[in-house]
Symmetry: none
Subunit: 416 residues, 2 copies
C-alpha cells in the first residue's frame, strides 16, 4: 500500500514556514507498513491543487492532504479535491448547525465565511474535529482513499490517529514496522555512541539511529516483522543490553519526555516540590505545570532574578551572595532550601547561572549553571557548563534539574 501526502498552503512555500505534518504522517504510516512515495507542497491555487490531487491519486493508493480547510478564500482544498475526483460539494446541514452552536458557545457571532467549512465532497464521510471548526473528510472509491485533514498539527494529529489510522491499518495487511525510542539525559551524543555502538552494530534488525537534541539523546530502534509481537521481541533483544550498558541513563522507552517521567515519579511517591529559579526564569515551573494534574505536586514556585528577591522571598543571606556571588553552589543550595521551607514541600530545587548572551566573565562564563536539589530526592548540587545560546542553556539547565530529581527519587548515583 503506497501513500502520497499533500500539504496545502502558499505560506508553506515561503522561506518563513515549512510543513511539519508530513514528517509526522510519514512516521505513523510507516508503523503500519504504509510507504510514502510522494510528498507535495502546493500553493493556494485551485487548478494547480486539483492537478496535484490527480497526480497523487494516479500514483498512490492513499492520498492524505493537510491544510486549506479554513474559512477564508485561500482555503481551497475541498473545492480542488472535489474537482480532481469530478464530484460536487454538498453543504452538510447537520454540521452547519453544530458549527453555529460552537460559535454560540464561545459567545461569538459566526461570520458567513465560516459556512463553507460544512462543505463535504459527495460520498465522503465527515470526521468531527474536536479541536477546531474544520472537520476532516474521507472519500473512498475505486480502490483509492482520499483524506482531507486540517493543517494545524494539534488538530491534525489526534484526528488522524483516532479516525484515519485505524482504517488504514485495516486496509494494509503488510509488514509491521515498529520503532522504540530510548531517551537518555545527562550524556552527550558521542558518549552514548561510544557505549552502545558495539552492541547495536551486531544487529541487522532492528536498525539503530542516534539523534541528538538539546539536553537529551535519543536512540531509535526500528524493527520490521510479520507481527507486532515479533517486532517487539526483536526490539527488546537489542534494548535489553543497551539499557544495561547505559546503567540507569535511559529515562524513557514509551514516548514520555523527561518532565512526564519526573511528574509520574512525584505523583507515585506522593512528593511535593517547590522551585526557586534564577537564570531559567520560570521555565522549569512552566514545564512541570504543563502536565495535567500538576497541582498534586507543585503548589508554589519562585522566579528570583534580582538579588533582593532571593533574599526577601527565599531567605538567602545577603552576605552569602556578597561573598560567593549570586551564581554559586552555596546560593543554589540556599535557594533550594528556601523554596522548600516556604512551601513546606518534600523537595526543593534551586537554579542559578548565566544564560547570556551578556553577564559572563572569565571566571563565570556564559553557560555556567548551578543546580541544587534538597529534601527527599537527596541533597545534591551540580555545576555544569552548558554549550549553546540562551534558549539552549536555559533548557539544558531544566533538563539537568529534572534528571537530578529522577535519579534521586530512584536512588541512582548522582549525575556527574
Amino acid at each position: 500500500m503506497k501513500a502520497a501526502i499533500l500539504a496545502v498552503g502558499s505560506e508553506l512555500l515561503t522561506p518563513l514556514r515549512s510543513d511539519t505534518n508530513a514528517l509526522h504522517l510519514t512516521a505513523k504510516l510507516l508503523e503500519i507498513g504504509v510507504e510514502v512515495v510522494l510528498r507535495q507542497t502546493v500553493a493556494d491555487d485551485r487548478a494547480l491543487l486539483a492537478a496535484s490531487f490527480r497526480h497523487a491519486l494516479e500514483r498512490a493508493d492513499v492520498v492524505i492532504a493537510t491544510g486549506g480547510l479554513g474559512p477564508t478564500e485561500d482555503d481551497l482544498t475541498r473545492e480542488a479535491a472535489a474537482d480532481a475526483l469530478g464530484l460536487p460539494l454538498h453543504r452538510d446541514a447537520a454540521y452547519l448547525e453544530a458549527l453555529k452552536e460552537r460559535f454560540k458557545r464561545y459567545g461569538r457571532p459566526m461570520a458567513p465565511v465560516n459556512e463553507k467549512q460544512a462543505d463535504l465532497i459527495e460520498g465522503a464521510q465527515l470526521l468531527l474535529n474536536p479541536r477546531g471548526t474544520a472537520p476532516a473528510q474521507i472519500h473512498e472509491a475505486a480502490g483509492k482513499m482520499l483524506v482531507l485533514l486540517p493543517g494545524p498539527p494539534f488538530e491534525m494529529q489526534p484526528l488522524f490517529e483516532a479516525a484515519v489510522l485505524p482504517v488504514l491499518r485495516e486496509r494494509s495487511a503488510g509488514a509491521v514496522v515498529k520503532t522504540r525510542v530510548l531517551r537518555i539525559a545527562g550524556l552527550g551524543e558521542s558518549d552514548v555512541e561510544q557505549i552502545v555502538a558495539p552492541i547495536y552494530k551486531t544487529f541487522q534488525n532492528p536498525r539503530t539511529t542516534i539523534l541528538s537534541a538539546p539536553g537529551q539523546v535519543e536512540l531509535h530502534l526500528v524493527a520490521e516483522a510479520k507481527s507486532d509481537a515479533e517486532a517487539e521481541r526483536l526490539i527488546e533483544a537489542l534494548a535489553a543490553p543497551i539499557r544495561e550498558a547505559l546503567a540507569g541513563r535511559v529515562y524513557s522507552e514509551d514516548g514520555r519526555d523527561l518532565v512526564q517521567v519526573v511528574a509520574g515519579l512525584l505523583k507515585a511517591q506522593q512528593h511535593t516540590i517547590a522551585l526557586a529559579e534564577s537564570c531559567t526564569g520560570g521555565l522549569l515551573a512552566a514545564r512541570l505545570t504543563e502536565i495535567p494534574g500538576s497541582s498534586a505536586y507543585l503548589g508554589r514556585a519562585f522566579v528570583t532574578y534580582a538579588n533582593e528577591a532571593k533574599i526577601e522571598l527565599l531567605g538567602v543571606a545577603a552576605t552569602l551572595i556578597a561573598e560567593r556571588g549570586a551564581v554559586s553552589e552555596d546560593v543554589a543550595r540556599a535557594m533550594a532550601d528556601g523554596a522548600m521551607r516556604s512551601a513546606r514541600s518534600s523537595i526543593g530545587v534551586g537554579i542559578t547561572g548565566i544564560a547570556g548572551p551578556d553577564g559572563g566573565s572569565a571566571e563565570k562564563p556564559v553557560g555556567l549553571v548551578y543546580v541544587a536539589i534538597a529534601g527527599a530526592a537527596g541533597d545534591r548540587v551540580r555545576r555544569a557548563q552548558f554549550p549553546g545560546e540562551r534558549d539552549r542553556i536555559r533548557f539544558q539547565a531544566t533538563q539537568s534539574a529534572l534528571e537530578m530529581i529522577r535519579r534521586g527519587l530512584l536512588g541512582l548515583a548522582p549525575l556527574s
Copy 2:
C-alpha cells in the same frame, strides 16, 4: 515566473531525514522574483518520477530537481526527466573523459556504473560540478526550463548560485519579491478576515495571506516590484489602511513576536513588572525571561498554584478566595496587586483560570481565564474563554496578558 522544486530520493521520505535543499532554493528564488508554487519529494521510481516531472512542467515555468544524479541503480533523475520531455539521453564523450581523469587523480579506478553520470538529456547544457562527480544540466524548450542539480547541499548550492541563478535572474526580468508580516493578537482569524478582506481584495499586488496560530493571527503581504524601494512602497500602500482598520491591533510588522514587542516597550519606558501566575504556571515568566537583558524589567515572579501560596506570598485575602473562588476577577486583581507590592514594581500581572483537562464546572468551564494588570499600564481585568487543550489555553492566557500590557503601555483602549 513560477517555479516547481522536485527533491528526488526515497530516503527523503522516511521520518529520519528530510529535504533541506527546497528551503534554500525557495529563499534564493524569491529574492529574484521567482515564486515557488509546487514542491515535490519523490521516491526512486522511474515512472513516478517521470509523472512528477510532467506534473511540474505543466504547472511551472522552471522546474528544479535535486538529487538522484549519482552512479547507483537508484539514481534515476536523468532517465525520468528525459522520459518526461520525450527525449533520449546521450553520453557526453568529453565529460566521460574528464570523469575518468578525475578518478585517476584521486588514485581510484572508475567503476563502470559511474559512466552514466556523463549522460545528458538531448539538447541540455552540462554544468560542471567542482565538488562532485555528478554534473548539473539545464534544458530549455518551449518556454520551459528544466534544471537537474546534485543532491548534497554543499555541491548543489554553489552550482545553483554560480550557474543557474544568473540565468533565471535574466529570464525573470529582475523582479523583486518582498514579504511583510503583520501580527495581530486578541482577534480570531475570521474576525481579522472580516475586517481586512474588503481592503486587501482591492489589491492585486501585494497579495495577502491570512495565517492563524494559537493566540495570534498573521497577515502576509507579498509584493512584486522592479526594486526593493518600490516593493516597500506597494506594501505600505496596503499596510497603512489595514493598520488603520485594525485600530492598534497590529503589534508587529518587523518579525518580532509579542513578547519581544512588550519587552521592548518595558525597556523603553523603563518599567518593571512582577507576575503572579496560577494556571499558566510560570509560562509568562519563562516567556518574558527568554529575552536577553530581561533582568532590566523583571526582578521576581510567583507561581501560586495553591491557595495558601496566593494567601502567604501575595497577600490575597483568604475570605476573598472563599467567597469568590480562586478563579475570579477579584482574585486575579489581588494577585496582580500582591506581586506588584512585593516587587515594588511599576506593573503587576495576575493570571488565574482553569487550564484543564480537569477542574472545570458548568459555571467555570475549562478554558476560563481571568487576567488582571495593575499599575503603570492601567488597572484592567479581562475574562476570557479560550478554546483548545491545556497547552493552548495556557499560551493564549499569556498572549492575552502581553497584549493587555502592550495596549496599556501604548494608551490604547482595553482588549475586549
